[in-house]
Subunit: 252 residues, 2 copies
């Protein structure tokens, strides 16, 4: 028996998110089916991040256990032959059986893309959130600064989340603009349900002048979802990378 | 009666190209229908560039004549309310009735995007051509240099084209690479049928080492389609801009 780790990229547009659920097709379900067909076993992957419907990934992580003799690094090629065009394995490798993509500490990087111009661009419509309201990225950058470090992010936690603690640590939050596209890149040790989309929605309100950047501190301190801005649409969000410490891959 | 010029952006993925044709839905057809509904007239637009199936546009140009009293610049807003999400008018304005988007001389800019890495990225699949063959962009840049200026581009003209002359002038050809994405940006006074895609296909062969950059000169001199490389897939191509001289908009 061996455990194989997959780095999974997908276009979330046509999926009801990552996790298997009864209401529609999910990325995990498609992955499980093709892995089961490939191996002849009943494979159920364990995913690192349960991305929502419409959210994209460049580097979500999943693991599965198999008795098949194929070397770990060959699964990427074999799976990509079978998977639909909107899911592509970026890397596969064998890892210790003790490696669990959610229980091992990691650093996640997300990007939220905003198209800020007069009219939408059709080719960008599934991969960015469009707004014609001019956004002041300097104000957004200033507001983003208040979120750096360890805080209770309860104000940025979507309803229905079941977590022991809403304290998280944001390691970096960069806001850049290239032509008409604003990118919020955020890196941290973990994110609450909808946290990145609520941060993006709040930063957009500040960029549009709804309230001053320093108000971000009051939003944090309120520890109340109603204090923050709206949840920005899923289409703008991409899970870029999940980074594990090298020690996570040492045999026990 | 007035003539209105539209700058049209579209995602070409789901269209059989620009021009009205019996075999499938086209961008022009959708535009004509919505313009006719909006004006209550029978509108037939005249397009500048008849892009192929799957080719995208940020700035194709079309004109139409109408007796409707709406100011030219308002058509963009009114049309975007009606059009499907994969077509968006970027600008509308009144122009002299003598302005014809194909008969007035113009400069066109195209971009061809190549994703050059080990595995495809799902979110890029409709907007770039993927190849895992490592491409040497310095070789591509050197080869591209031979195409600058006025030449007979018969070797780069797709079958079925009916043109008086295959002489065209390329004003600029820039090849840049950012992360895994190579962009061929090409600007000229006009392009033959499939010319940009055949140039892209030939540059890719040179970048992959099939023949040396200097062979581009021999391909040009052959004046034979068979001398050049394959026609690169439509999905990588975007018509970025069509620029007319200011004088084209002077009343006669």
């Amino acid at each position: 028996m061996k455990r194989v780790k997959l780095t999974v990229a997908y276009d979330g547009t046509n999926y009801c998110g990552w996790q298997v659920q009864p209401n529609g097709i999910t990325v995990q379900e498609v992955l499980n089916r093709h892995l089961s067909e490939l191996t002849g076993e009943t494979i159920e992957t364990i995913g690192a991040s349960r991305t929502d419907a419409g959210v994209h990934a460049l580097g979500n992580v999943a693991v599965f256990d198999t008795r098949v003799r194929m070397p770990g690094e060959k699964f990427s090629f074999a799976l990509n032959q079978r998977l639909p065009e909107d899911i592509r394995i970026q890397e596969s490798r064998e890892v210790p059986e003790t490696f669990h993509p959610r229980y091992v500490e990691s650093e996640k990087t997300y990007e939220y893309q905003i198209l800020n111009r007069r009219f939408p661009i059709p080719t960008e419509r599934f991969y960015s959130h469009f707004t014609y309201v001019p956004l002041d990225i300097e104000k957004m950058q200033e507001a983003g600064g208040y979120l750096l470090g360890e805080h209770d992010f309860k104000s940025f936690c979507g309803a229905g989340a079941q977590v022991k603690t809403t304290v998280r640590c944001i390691h970096a939050l960069d806001i850049t603009k290239e032509a008409d596209k604003i990118t919020i890149r955020i890196r941290g040790n973990g994110f609450l349900y909808n946290m990145v989309r609520i941060i993006a929605g709040t930063l957009m309100e500040i960029g549009g002048g709804a309230y001053p950047p320093a108000h971000m501190r009051a939003i944090l301190e309120a520890k109340d979802r109603k204090a923050a801005g709206p949840t920005a649409p899923a289409r703008g969000l991409t899970l870029v990378q999940i980074k594990y410490p090298d020690s996570a891959f040492n045999a026990p």
